[in-house]
Amino acid sequence: MDKNFQEEFTQIIKFQPPLYKQRHQFVKDLVEKYKPKKVADLGCADCSLLWMLKFCSCIEVLAGLDICANVMKEKMHTLSPLPVDYLQPSERSLTVTLHHGSVAHKDPCMLGFDLVTCIELIEHLEESELKKFPEVVFGFMAPSIVVISTPNSEFNPLLPGVLLYRHPDHKFEWSQAEFQSWALETARCYNYSVEFTGVGHPPTGMEKVGFCTQIGVFVRKYPQTGESLQSEKPTEAVYKTVFKAVYPSLKDEKYLQNAVISEVMFTAQIIKHRLMSKHKEYSDDPERKSKFQLSMNCFSDYLGKLVVEKNMEPFVSGNEVYVPLTTIFSFPKVNRLCGTFEKLCKLIAGKVTLSSDGSAVMFNTEHENEEN
């Protein structure tokens, strides 16, 4: 089911941007509008839609399902976290899972989704599968929104070289009327509302033909299914998980702690650095002095906007420098990460060298200037 490519092959000439991109953009716009947290793509093929959706910051769970494991595996690594995701874990959590299985079968892993997309999927289904499809998607999964796209056969005469169907694997291609009657019936049956639209405008003068790709957007009319209702639908797991990636996130204590320690140490170092350079200013090094007369007006607000109260001043005592935690906590980045001062203390406990009363980060400067 190499559908993106197949269409690109002949229609890239006709549609700008290519039709598959327009379909993806359509889904993306829908995500922007409804901000779903859990999204599943049925018939995810080479995962290109999922890849695009992983950048949408509202999504926390992404799942893909396809009948062909090989086509998923080919590009599934593009769904793995990138090195930078580990370096700068994001605020949101994100789990991406790929399942191998059929939309004609129910599997509990597909429950609880907000949005389910079926882009160019139904025309690949055998009659028996198509029959079970509404019950699985609308009856069992029952997400708030379902998007279904499929070719509009009325458009086919306008496409060069299309004899019967646009793709040899297509089992059928529907006219606008055929699709709409199927969709309306399905919506009625499962208590959804449906609106029709599409991508790929027909040429001027031929508007009656309709969009090249017809799309139905189904919205569930009844409120969120309760847990009780779902537990009434006990089913066995039938899908095989072929891929799972859990993105590093600050919601995970481990990553949060790392981020906080790193930020605390870094901030403390900056404060220490400034303190020490103030000490040095009294020396006879004329080049040094000008260097630290900082003008903070443009570009950087990194250290600025900071009101240092009397009891928050860092100080030097012998070979030790103390940077109070309250000072560090007043830095926006640290503050945002921890939320509360208590949380800050809890996260760094045992990981950062503190003064005996635990109120300040302590540095020993004795071996600072050692050289190799």
């Binding site: 490519f5 949408c56 370096l87 900056i270 020396s283 090094d285």
Partner: protein, 797 residues
């Protein structure tokens, strides 16, 4: 014969070399040994004690009668798109099989199809019938170079299957990072791997690799640089700190090298997309990756693409906010505390290193998918590393003014043994300058008193210097130098109060070019500790003596009339992409005096022309010193990158020969050219008392893990306090010396004893280290060839 190059398509199929061309990093197919008759039979030495060694190589085994089948795949009518070609071909998976590698043109299979030519028929979705002709073009034996490249591709596939992340050339495990918050660093453990034909077996050489990553973006770094240096020096500092660094982008798994910073551009600026339309960066990242760029005033980073598909040269613009830094800057490397903190995590002792490697192999062994892939290709690994016997050659005797010393082989150091012994040649310091700032007045006096204490036993005659106090400004130092240096001045000593590079550079530049006088710069801080001052003063006295043309010690060199040459390169990443080749050649029998020159060239030029000129002057100088020309010349060539061996063999060596010919028709000395490589993947461990230790200095390996097509060997010459010792690889690419391999090995090891800035054994032959020092000084501080008046002294130490 078998083609060397895997087609560019197959490279894509595997893992394209990020951000640039794919080179043959292993110098496959450069067969230099065949031209050297005297090592056809054997290239192994014999001297020394046997030692049992383990290494980080693992045998790769294939089924008996294993071969890789290479097919050409043609389409009629011709199909352009690669994806379509693949799709059409793999409609016939039942014929071809599930295991395959296909680049759109060449197909590799682990099994042979029934007939030599197979015709398959597919239909496109447009109903067009396509005939696919699959023709067997090659049966590749396991040892063919194509096959080796293929193994490497497959192995990288395996690492990917293990969910390791590719950064640059290697693979790293992101799930268990070590963070070093003090320096905002993160260290990922990973692996380097290469599969090659070694002496008797095809083996996987795997090593533990650490990737240092930084938890900040380039924009963060710019902010902190701004707060450190202020507006005036901000752009310069950014250029110095950032250009040359490798960055990772937030949105894809690519690495880029920062080549320039475009201060006139910003994220609002536009670029031309491949379809010809213009788009702003802000818009692009929002659309493509849903990323909002928060700072619209930041400049844009420029990365040059070396070569893309179809030889298109071009540059990529990157947004600092979306780039994370990797690796260490020069400045970080010189931060002793940072390196100390890093070393704890990255310098793994032998046992631990092997343990980490063992973990990788366990992953490979335990992962079903990986095992399946290997099985499908008919390949497997020995999960136990290769063991063999190496030799430890005997230690050298150190001669100094008629006295002979042995050193403790365990430490490979003779500092203690030679303390207080007269030097071979002590140059008197009759007239010299000592320059310091007022604040360092006391320090200067301490240094002077200490020097007076340590120099007499060395045999150095020292007068009171001309002590001059200056302001701590670069101009003050330079003015004093201009006014106070006389023709009699032996050496200038400057005490600097900070490690500010510009001051050091200015002093060195003046004293190496305009006014050629040896100079010694000392950081005041180094002299501030009373408990170490005598040691420091001793080192400084020795170093100064060498800079003035003195000689410290020697080892026995049995060969007569021999000139040893060392060459190393320095590549300047900042100032105009200069490259500098340091060239050092011995002047006397004892190898205690060295002539030096260097070649400064800008990007795109070849170093070799300059090196030829250097060799000519070196020969002239040698004949001046020895009243004849050398009958043997050894060139130790360092600074050769992976994949450059071919150039060296075909271009540089003929130039050496040309140069020798040009000296005179009756002059035909014996020439040996040895490529020295410090960065090698091989590690050796001595099996001592049931555990693994670093092998002792003098360990020579010339079997099992060397390459059959080369006359090569490894020497472990130095010792390390922490971590694993890295062997140095020597590859004799040209040799008319008729010397036995054992003698070449011994000579090489002897030369590792002759570096005067370290009274111990070093990693490379002394001339290489001298050449490195020279190239570094010129590249970092001087930027042009130093005055030839200094060329017979080690002024660059």
């Amino acid at each position: 014969t078998i083609g060397l190059q895997v087609s560019s398509g197959l490279q894509d199929l595997s893992l394209r070399d990020r951000g640039g061309r794919r080179r043959d990093f292993h110098d496959l197919g450069v067969n230099t040994r065949q031209a050297m008759v005297h090592v056809q039979e054997s290239k192994t030495g014999f001297s020394g004690k046997m030692i049992k060694l383990t290494t980080n190589h693992f045998r790769l085994t294939s089924r008996p009668q294993w071969a890789l089948y290479q097919y050409h795949v043609g389409y009629s009518p011709e199909m352009e798109a690669r994806r379509l070609r693949s799709a059409l071909l793999f409609q016939h998976e039942e014929t071809i099989g599930k295991t395959h590698a296909f680049d759109g043109c060449i197909l590799f299979l682990p099994k042979k199809l029934e007939s030599k030519v197979t015709e398959l028929f597919s239909r496109t979705r447009n109903g067009e019938d396509v005939k696919i002709t699959v023709t067997l073009t090659n049966e590749l034996p396991p040892t063919s170079p194509t096959c080796l490249q293929f193994y490497n591709i497959i192995f990288r596939r395996l690492l990917k299957m293990l969910n390791l992340q590719q950064i640059g050339r290697n693979y790293y495990n992101p799930s268990d990072p070590v963070s070093i918050p003090n320096h905002r660093l993160m260290v990922w453990l990973g692996f380097t791997s290469s599969i090659l034909q070694y002496e008797e077996n095809i083996m996987l050489c795997a090593d533990v690799s650490h990737k240092v990553l930084r938890g900040e973006t380039v924009l963060d770094t710019m902010h902190s640089l701004y707060s450190q240096v202020g507006e005036e020096r901000f752009r310069d500092t950014c250029a110095k700190e950032l250009i040359g660094l490798i960055v990772l982008t937030k949105y894809n798994n690519r690495t880029y090298r920062i080549d320039d910073i475009d201060w006139d551009n910003n994220p609002k600026g536009t670029f031309r997309k491949s379809d010809g339309s213009e788009m702003s960066f802000v818009e692009y990242y929002k659309k493509q990756y849903n990323i909002e760029i928060s700072d619209w005033m930041q400049p844009v980073l420029i990365s040059q693409m070396k070569r893309r598909r179809g030889n298109i040269q071009g540059s990529v613009a990157l947004i600092p906010e979306l780039c994370s830094l990797t690796g260490l800057t020069e400045k970080m490397r010189s931060d002793f505390n940072m390196m100390k903190d890093l070393a704890i995590h990255t310098r793994l002792p032998p046992e631990q290193r092997q343990r980490e490697l063992g973990r990788l192999l366990t992953y490979i062994q335990k992962d079903d998918n990986v095992q399946k892939e290997l099985r499908n290709w008919g390949l497997s690994f020995d999960y136990k590393s290769v063991s063999f016997t190496g030799r430890v050659v005997q230690g050298e005797k150190i001669f100094q003014s008629g006295t002979m010393f042995d050193y403790n082989p365990q430490f490979a150091d003779w500092t203690k043994e030679t303390r207080g012994v007269p030097l071979i040649r002590a140059v008197p310091m009759d007239s010299w300058l000592l320059i310091y700032t007022r604040r360092n007045h006391d320090v200067a006096n301490t240094l002077l008193q200490s020097l007076f204490k340590v120099t007499p036993s060395m045999g150095i005659h020292m007068n009171k210097p001309n002590m001059i106090e200056v302001d701590d400004r670069t101009e003050s130092y330079l003015r004093v130098l201009q006014q106070r240096i006389t023709p009699d001045t032996n050496i200038v000593v400057c005490i600097l109060s900070s490690s500010r590079k510009d001051k050091y550079d200015a002093i060195k530049k003046y004293l190496c070019t305009d006014c050629p006088i040896p100079s010694q710069c000392v950081l005041a801080r180094t002299l501030s500790k009373p408990q170490t001052i005598m040691t420091v003063a001793t080192k400084i006295a020795l170093q100064m003596n060498c800079k003035m043309g003195g000689e410290l010690w020697s080892v026995e060199i049995p060969l007569k009339q021999v000139m040893i040459v060392g060459i190393d390169c320095y590549h300047d990443t900042v100032a105009g992409k200069q490259s500098i080749a340091g060239f050092v050649a011995s002047l006397n029998q004892a190898m205690t005096r060295w002539f030096s020159r260097c070649v400064v060239q800008s990007r795109g030029q070849e170093l070799v022309d300059g090196i030829k000129a250097c060799l000519q002057t070196a020969l002239r100088n040698w004949s001046k010193w020895n009243k004849c020309l050398p009958s043997r010349i050894f060139v130790y060539r360092d600074g050769v990158g992976d994949g450059q061996l071919n150039t060296l063999v075909n271009y540089e060596v003929p130039q050496f020969l040309d140069c020798l010919k040009s000296i005179g028709t009756d002059y035909s000395p014996r020439l040996t050219v040895i490529v020295v490589k410090k960065r090698v993947g091989a590690r050796f461990f001595a099996e001592i008392g049931g555990g693994l230790r670093n092998p002792p200095p003098g360990t020579v390996v010339d079997t099992v893990v060397t390459r059959p097509e080369w006359y090569d060997f490894f020497v472990v010459s130095q010792t390390v306090k922490n971590g694993c010792v890295a062997p140095t690889h020597y590859n004799v690419i040209y040799d008319t010396s008729q010397l036995k391999p054992d003698h070449v090995q011994r000579l090489t090891y002897k030369l590792c004893h002759m570096y005067y800035n370290w009274s111990g054994i070093i990693r490379v032959p002394a001339p290489c280290q001298y050449a490195h020092k020279l190239a570094f000084l010129v590249g970092q501080s001087i930027h042009r060839e130093p005055n030839l008046m200094l060329s017979d002294r080690l002024y660059y130490l």
